[in-house]
Symmetry: D2
Subunit: 395 residues, 4 copies
Amino acid sequence: MKHHSFPEAPKTGVWLIGARGSVATTAVAGAAAVRAGLVPPTGMITATPDFAGAGLPELDDLVFGGHDVTDVPLLKRAEQLAEAGVLPTRLLLPVHYALQEADREIRRGAGHDRAGPAQAEIAASLVADLVSFRERHHLRQVVVVNVSSTEPRQPPHPAHDDLAALEHALATETAVLPPSSLYAYAALRAGCAHVDFTPSPGARIPALHQLACQEGLPYAGNDGKTGETLVRTALAPMFVHRALRVRSWSGTNLLGGGDGATLADPDAAAGKTASKRSGLSALLGGPFEGTTHIDYVPSMGEMKTAWDHITFEGFLGAAMSLQFTWQGCDSALAAPLVLDLARLMARARELGASGPQEQLGFFFKDPVHLPGREHDHRLVAQYEALRAWYAEAGR
Amino acid sequence: MKHHSFPEAPKTGVWLIGARGSVATTAVAGAAAVRAGLVPPTGMITATPDFAGAGLPELDDLVFGGHDVTDVPLLKRAEQLAEAGVLPTRLLLPVHYALQEADREIRRGAGHDRAGPAQAEIAASLVADLVSFRERHHLRQVVVVNVSSTEPRQPPHPAHDDLAALEHALATETAVLPPSSLYAYAALRAGCAHVDFTPSPGARIPALHQLACQEGLPYAGNDGKTGETLVRTALAPMFVHRALRVRSWSGTNLLGGGDGATLADPDAAAGKTASKRSGLSALLGGPFEGTTHIDYVPSMGEMKTAWDHITFEGFLGAAMSLQFTWQGCDSALAAPLVLDLARLMARARELGASGPQEQLGFFFKDPVHLPGREHDHRLVAQYEALRAWYAEAGR
Amino acid sequence: MKHHSFPEAPKTGVWLIGARGSVATTAVAGAAAVRAGLVPPTGMITATPDFAGAGLPELDDLVFGGHDVTDVPLLKRAEQLAEAGVLPTRLLLPVHYALQEADREIRRGAGHDRAGPAQAEIAASLVADLVSFRERHHLRQVVVVNVSSTEPRQPPHPAHDDLAALEHALATETAVLPPSSLYAYAALRAGCAHVDFTPSPGARIPALHQLACQEGLPYAGNDGKTGETLVRTALAPMFVHRALRVRSWSGTNLLGGGDGATLADPDAAAGKTASKRSGLSALLGGPFEGTTHIDYVPSMGEMKTAWDHITFEGFLGAAMSLQFTWQGCDSALAAPLVLDLARLMARARELGASGPQEQLGFFFKDPVHLPGREHDHRLVAQYEALRAWYAEAGR
Amino acid sequence: MKHHSFPEAPKTGVWLIGARGSVATTAVAGAAAVRAGLVPPTGMITATPDFAGAGLPELDDLVFGGHDVTDVPLLKRAEQLAEAGVLPTRLLLPVHYALQEADREIRRGAGHDRAGPAQAEIAASLVADLVSFRERHHLRQVVVVNVSSTEPRQPPHPAHDDLAALEHALATETAVLPPSSLYAYAALRAGCAHVDFTPSPGARIPALHQLACQEGLPYAGNDGKTGETLVRTALAPMFVHRALRVRSWSGTNLLGGGDGATLADPDAAAGKTASKRSGLSALLGGPFEGTTHIDYVPSMGEMKTAWDHITFEGFLGAAMSLQFTWQGCDSALAAPLVLDLARLMARARELGASGPQEQLGFFFKDPVHLPGREHDHRLVAQYEALRAWYAEAGR
């Protein structure tokens, strides 16, 4: 196991919002285990031959830090994940040091309910954390990835539409931006690429788009595609390309863990089901019946189960159906994507990309894209788009 | 409803091997119902905007005929299909005339057990049927589509490797070619494009490939992709593109109807499961555990059910699973593909295509391709390949 | 086919509330088809050897009538059911006469929104309909079965607790009883046994219980067990008897048809999900996680699909799961139970039973029972209880 | 944790054939963990209030030993089971001593292929092991439970029909009895009650029945009901009691672990599928279509998955279906039943029971019963039969 001290070439920082959560802990522990050769990099597409070759920062060259609003040490979280069957117990010891290293780089984040100072002041403190992280480690750059819980929907604020208006409002008000967007604002202000792995607005606010373009910084998101929607974007093209008419598409998601608890709040769930439905509608290209539920089942822990039932019509009106049940481990699905995204965004930034990174739509339920463009949600098409971008980027 | 007499422009013939079966009857009845505007062309990809534009023969311009070894009138078969829920009862009357027309064009086919004459003699009679059909109707061309039941595997014959040797053997022997290949031979000898919708060898014999190339005729196949394999080729890329390791892929198919009865014979089923497995192996690109069963459940009639259970491994070895249940109506899934294939093959031939038509792999479990080429079995990739060919062909 | 004119022995009346609905139409048409020997009595437990022997009125001896608030003729409804695949088309003609006969005996029912007269007046008119039916046909007795749609929950009225208070309120007020209870009141006032096949309150109001006991009339209900709950009461004892701890039991029901539309209203659905949950809680005997959804999917028509997912814990805390998918035809499941219930209730009444008929709990999601008694919801136990009662009753 | 030395009252021995397998190891470790209060006795029906009261030997009073043909230490097996997720890692240390104790009591068993001595000689050595175990520990009695792998079917031997003939043959021949029956013979000869948890013949040979009756010893079996068949016996009565006609019942079982490997051998699987089918046929009481597969999927480890698909017919011939997927942990399902059976058989023997113990049919796929009797396979009926016996036994 290498201990990465005294690096010679500059490394890349990965700053995780929600750094003490399951996904972040799994990403940090997993990166260490893969680096040490203890497990294969299963689930990381940047470790496949399609993404080999020059360009991406190596896992060895990633340094982790982040913000969080809780204090649970990463080692404790890792033990909980081992108990829950996500992290093999035998890895706890070997990844111990890497978790401690990351733990030291976690700073207190911006809570939802900070009644106190104006948001500009909070943002300045977040920016300072990022800059300090970059400078202390002599990092080439820092990629910020938001892996925190889904936040409740917030009413839009008139200052969202314009950067100048936004900065003016932030200077005096305390609830201009939802937390996800305040983090995104701080990331961009600190000169960092930003990835939103949650369905929260994050950088998807006109004023922040303006800021990203002005600063020449890329952003990507939203809402990591790790289960039901992943399967949907693989399956839906089958109906469309075979000219079969989907009558109904119904889904029920059973979630335990932190995300389940958050989504038991109908407000938070609303953001999630909206991002789930938007891709499916775009794929099917027409109206269909059916509801998608997200149910909180605490005893499921880190596992999540999705059941989808699709009725469709074939030649001469024949009624047919397809149903699937997906049983996945949430953090184990999300964590490798976080590592992939950090590596790909770092590369995108080096290549000078700025604004929404649509070629990363493969990773998301509700991909960012330039206004007026239609995103092709078909999973295979998204993969080919990413590969084509990479082939270009790799030159 | 138009009655297609006294056509002015030459029409295209569609000659179905197994012309009295469920798939053929559904294709003939369905084409008539769509032409009459009684049902939308659901399930026919050539009726979607992606395939609009010049080039394909219209449904109105197709004339149906075929070979079969049974005598059940098409009207009777249509009534059975109405009883089984495939053909809406209200369509029986409107498609009556079209079924009768096709019925008059069905000739006695070449049975499996003809002990009598040398196969060259049988082939000559099949060729004569095809030529007579083309001439009587002043057809522009005839496309032969084999929709008969899966035939038992037959041992290879040394004459299969060379056209001259084949013709020599056919002249005196009675069991050189399996029926599917004898039909393909006759089709090519009669100057017809040939499509194999079954897993049987058909034109996939070196000597027949030689004949097709020599005569400048296209052929396509094999084994229409209408259920479990359709879903598999949509789903498998998800695992591959996400770098998730498939540990096992198990499947059970419950079939009633004629195909189920045929496949209750392990010899016939062997061909089917081999063609099912080959695509999945190519897609996953590595070894995986699991068995695929085909069970005959007579009471399921025209419906078929497939259950697939997939276990896979994610980051840090996390064990996850996906299962799906597909409930489809076999003939309603196959018939529109038969119409699509007839139209696309007619166009391919007009464009001078000869030999295996790989761009039609979208329709098949085990697509024909030039030796040494790897076929991309991903459903979306197959669709895009077909669309690209068509865009080129449409010019 | 017998046409039942000029009966010699008195017949039994079956008066259906919701007489023009799918369930009622299927019951009337099906009874005629079974009587005529055109179909076997599949789904009718009173046609099995366990319930043979003296005592139950024959199907031949049932006369159908009822109340409804719509005017669609039964023949029209039967055609719709044939289109939807519930009633085989070939039966339409042979059951034609029986449907017409029943159609003539359907009277305008008491709508939900009758703003006009006091409820006592409406009840008097309902009673008159029942008495007239009984007298015109010289019926031995009439069994009233409510097969109408689930009604929205209504706030309790203080007069529900006492018969005298109830009658006093009915005399002047217009919204004392919900429709289901007004029908039950009328049935009991007309001297009829009453069965509630819906989750609506019906006879389950203390004042009506008082009335039934006072008049010596039996009543049964509530909410016919025809799908998810049927399976649940078969499966749940497995976990309990094997000492396996159920952690969560989640369910999603996809319904088309009239019931689905009604249950799309959360108020109506509340009654349904409450009656579903109560039995399961009683069976499992302890707390469990999970939610049960009822979704309206109009295109599913008469079919309904239920998916249940159960997680449970075994020895040493091992986590296991069971899931099932039920695909049923609602009316085909309910109609034979309606015939069974009419026959069994007629017999119960002849034997002098009065008050709640707990031995019929086999048919219901939420069985009526005497206060203070615990109902054994296990399906097999319910069956044995019914059989034991019948063995006693048959003597 | 108690260490059970110097017992005052005589204890009960539990002698496991296949004592080093997953089921045996889980039973021994689990009994220790339950005794120590570290886990609740989930899955043990004898720990529920229905079986409370005097009579059964306490878990504290069980002493474990057994035969096996392998040498893997129990501690090693326990570690493997912890790795496979059956045994919680935190229990390994506390159950350490109990596993060592049991390990010391395991003797070399009778292999399948012992070409050497006549079977009488082997039997004598097995008997000596049992007697020595009983005497060394001053045991009140020893219950023998066969939890070894399913053995391949063996042709019947003419000596199976009569005890005298059997003993004569054993004296000189080397392959009279299959191993499972040789163990049963030895158990009975050593004066022990015998339970067969496998589908192998065991004591179900006329000559052994004769021996059991002659010696006044009880025997029970066969084939522990721990998954698909458990669900089937819960579900099948639903169809029967509702007079729904089952058309087909198809099943696919995916097994890893030792049992999966054994059952990959078609000969061994034949015994298993026969015992699975027999109960279902008895329950449904008539013919039905469908096949049951057992597939070996090594990567599933200790988990097993069963998918069953049932098509059935309701009123007016309506076609409906039910499917379920069971995911269970084999050893965690079997081990508590082994403990239950040991306790119940010890009690049965104390009460003087001899011959087949039909009241234990609740635990088995293919329950032993007296010739000419029909066993009621309904799970709830089996439970009630056991409870009734126990109520009687408890007096």
